[in-house]
Amino acid sequence: MTAFLDSIGFNGWILPALLLLPMAGALALLVQRSMSGDTGDEAAMRSSRTIALWVFIAEAVLSLGLWWSVDVGSADWQAYIDLEWIPQWGARFTVGLDGISMVLVLLTTLLMPLAVLGGWTAIRERTHAYYALLLVLTSGMLGVFMALDLVFFYLMWELMLVPMYLIIGIWGGQRRLYASLKFFIYTFLGSLLMLVAVIWLGLETGNGGPPVFAYDAILNATRTGQVSGSFWLFGAFAMAFAVKVPMFPFHTWLPDAHVEAPTAGSVILAAIMLKMGTFGFMRFAVPLFPDVAMHPTVRTLMLVLAVVGIIYGALMALVQPDFKKLVAYSSVSHLGFVMLGIFAMTVEAMQGAMVVTVSHGISTGALFLLIGMLYERRHTRLLDDFGGIAKVMPVFAFFLTVVALSSIGLPGTNGFVGEFLVLVGSFPTQPYYALVAVTVVIFAAAYLLWAIQRIIYQPLVKPENEALRGMDLNAREIGLMVPLLVGILWLGLYPKPFLEKTAAASERLVQMTESAHTSPLRASLQRDR
């Protein structure tokens, strides 16, 4: 496989192709719409969703090659492309991957077709615009994971914001206007502070000459103590990423946005967009400013917020009457694990953070898809409106049980591997935080098992639920759940290939951070004070 990919020069064009293909797809949708005239009828819906699905499938198939073509052991960036963009400002079009970002790119490209299938029949209005926005959003998400130039990174980071804002605001639920604006303002606040930090970093790295925004050059500059004000810079980056993760107490946009977004929007938000926050910590905030990130006070603060997020998210999930909101709060809890793993700063914990990142994407994505399927049939998400669904929709009940168990972290599923690794990895360095975090396994079991008990078990008393008989999952819905189930079991039973892919990058990250932390370079921090 590797030889074949080399022979077609796969690494030389794959990343720009992955970025441009969705854009081209969006353009094709607009052209198709203006050619045919949007009549808003069935035909328009069919044509637009078919085009979008094929583009996403092509994207997924293309990206699969990365699994083989990316040499994760190498210290160099893989599939690296570096083109001139705005020479006067030192901004370049630079993309490249390592093990961590490769996994996240694959997560994105493989989930997107499923997200489209999840909203296959639910989105009936303005479908051309909807799918065009989904495609543009995909470009932005992929760009964030690939970018190795901070200007390009910032552009891609913001690129995601408007499509998601419109997707929530136009196709969302009752309180969509409120939720979409809140989402936009929170995220925009974080990214604007990051904008100032990016420009400052570029100017300081340029050192009086034209600014330099290349990731490697900036990494070099911050580690040799050339950049001043690293405390504030870390703060600005951490703020942007903490809002996105979201860390407690910046999480309040998340339940609103998740609940009001259409199914595909929720899936993308939970499975991919939240991961940009944790990815940002791994790629930018921590390695660029190891002195600050590993400073005892800052580290304690981040660890406390991570653990508070874990517990708080779980407790809030316990009392939610709305299933979607419950899952949203469980995201806060899971992402807390990722943050714990990152700031524990051991290789196992970092690896665990990556597994939680991906497995949360799979499990929570699957949960949102299942909620969407149920909502399409019953037009409610309140747990108390259900009961006894297992009797009328056995296939649905099967999938919901398996996915919920994986989200709880049952051994043998993906959730277990990630949380276990995080806990094992953080116990040697941060035993107290690990001890507190471990209790959440009980809460997770409580809120999810109680929820599925109320939905699919209990007596079947409500006539509305009785009417669901014969409306079990159709072939499309089963077809889109099966890949997710395979992912759950694969990561749960045999995570070795996955761990091998992220091992080298995690090790490098930990080793780089620790070495900067314990070396004389700390002098640069002292000088700042």
């Binding site: 914001l161 419109l166 604007l192 904008l195």
Partner: protein
């Protein structure tokens, strides 16, 4: 070619584009008075005026490509800064007339002189862009202002336009008084009205602690603050921008502001650079307060023109940051910014003009409810203009890089401007509240029952909307050519000599 502008004939040659516009404007004035007022006559004068502007742009480009220069001690400058400012105000004038030809026809305004007044106002702006002498600056401001006073009151049937015109005239005259008194005091302190000679005098006689100069600079700051609508000298702006005919509002918001800022920057940079300890904190606070007040008050507006008026005040605050950064990058950032800002403003006001109801009723934001459902392209274009004003990347295109450039100039400045940069981005966050309000109303609401369908759009208006939107998005992806022009046309980094004992705050590190 070097124009020795102290020799009258060479001065005339260096003013070639300005003279083309002025002489052509006067001929057109005669032509417009030749026939009775009528819709066709109005249109033909408008077309002729547009042709004249295109010729003038050609002359400016020809002069700029020829690499013309002039000694720095003349009454006017011949440099890239002047040419880029000229091109921006000329493009603004072109768009104004293109919009006005159709706007006037729709609103029953049949005075062909209105287009000629735009030409005269533009001539004044070009003089401002060139002026390197306080007397020339004063001439430029008056030529510009008198034309605009008339333009604001063009719609004689509208009470709000009459109010706007009177208010602008009275306050403008008042502000001119401040400016003139400031000029007199600066002349009294330095013995010259020529920018670079002022600078030399300040350096040689150590005048930067001279109280008469302080007062003079302060009064000029107030006078120019009025013209660019900086807080607390902004009170006239919302009423005037709201009451004027829509093309005139756009012309004032983009071009008048650009020209006033051009002379502001040139005077502060070439003339008062060595007294920056005196004015720096004043400009800092002016910028900070202008950004905060403009953005916060804009949040509360329901009338879209008033909202954009307050937003234009906020943008004056952003531009004041370039003045405060007092470096060559600041002048380049300014040129880039006004180009981007002019595009977005004209696009937005073209859309507003299309959607305005007849009569004297103000245009409210909720008139735009569900616009996307009936006019998807128009709504999408408006969303692009709003996001460009917000400075959002990709969808707002060039607007993002304009803000980027200003931030970069501020952070690279020898002054301590990181705090001002943070204020800039935080107030930008506030501005998201009102720019997105327009997007949200257009895209996320249903079209109300019985809403009046927007009329068909004329060819010129359509062209203005299309061209501005395409330029915003295109330059938003590939801004490097534009950056090159801006960088090449900014003022050179000022030579600073520490031997003179003038304290400039230490660089960031």
């Amino acid at each position: 070619m070097t124009y020795d502008v102290l020799i009258p004939s060479r001065l005339m040659a260096a003013l070639l584009p300005d003279l083309i516009l002025m002489v052509g404007g006067m001929v057109l004035m005669l032509f417009s008075a030749w026939r009775r007022d009528s819709a066709e006559h109005q249109r033909s004068v408008g077309l002729a005026a547009m042709a004249l502007i295109v010729v003038t742009i050609g002359a400016v480009v020809w002069m700029a490509m020829g690499g013309a220069t002039a000694p720095t001690n003349g009454p006017i400058a011949v440099d890239g800064f002047r040419w880029v400012t000229d091109i921006v105000v000329l493009l603004a004038a072109l768009a104004t007339i293109a919009l006005a030809v159709e706007y006037n026809a729709r609103h029953g305004i049949s005075h062909p002189e209105s287009h000629v007044l735009v030409l005269f106002g533009t001539a004044g702006m070009m003089i401002l862009a060139a002026g390197r002498d306080l007397m020339v600056v004063f001439l430029g401001i008056e030529i510009m202002s008198v034309a605009v006073y008339v333009l604001t009151g063009l719609n004689r049937r509208s009470a709000r336009a009459a109010e706007a015109s009177l208010k602008y005239f009275l306050l403008g005259a008042f502000a001119t008084g401040f400016l003139l008194y400031g000029i007199a005091l600066v002349y009294g302190a330095t013995g010259t009205t020529q920018f670079t000679e002022i600078s030399t005098a300040i350096r040689e006689y150590n005048l930067h602690e001279h109280p008469m100069l302080w007062v003079g600079i302060g009064l000029m700051l107030i006078g120019l603050g009025f013209k660019v609508a900086a807080v607390p000298f902004h009170m006239w702006a919302p009423d005037v921008y709201d009451g004027s005919p829509t093309p005139t509002s756009a012309f004032m918001i983009a071009a008048v502001k650009a020209a006033a800022f051009a002379t502001f920057l040139r005077l502060w940079y070439e003339g008062f650079y060595y007294t920056s300890t005196v004015w720096h904190s004043a400009v800092w606070w002016l910028a900070a307060i202008t950004m905060v007040v403009g953005n916060v008050v804009a949040l509360a507006q329901g009338n879209i023109k008033r909202m954009l008026a307050y937003s234009s005040i906020a943008h004056a605050g952003y531009l004041l940051v370039t003045v405060a950064s007092a470096n060559g990058a600041g002048t380049s950032a300014f040129l880039f910014y006004i180009f981007a800002y002019t595009l977005a403003t004209f696009g937005a006001f073209a859309v507003i003009g299309v959607l305005e109801h007849g009569g004297d009723r103000p245009a409210m934001i909720w008139d735009y409810e569900g616009l996307w459902h009936t006019r998807p392209w128009l709504a999408s274009a408006m969303a692009v203009f709003m996001l460009a004003l917000l400075g959002f990347p990709f969808f707002g295109g060039i607007g993002f890089f304009a803000k980027w450039y200003v931030l970069q100039a501020a952070l690279a400045s020898p002054q301590m401007l990181a705090s001002l940069a943070v204020i800039l981005v935080l107030t930008s966050l506030v501005s998201a509240g009102y720019y997105l309000q327009v997007v949200r109303v257009m895209f996320m609401k249903q079209r109300p029952e019985g809403a009046v369908e927007p009329p068909a759009i004329g060819a010129f208006t359509r062209a203005v909307i299309g061209v501005t939107a395409v330029l915003i998005l295109g330059f938003g992806l590939f801004p490097s050519q534009l950056v090159r022009v801006g960088e090449g046309s900014g003022m050179p980094q000022y030579p600073f000599s520490p031997a003179l004992g003038i304290k400039v705050p230490a660089p960031l590190r």
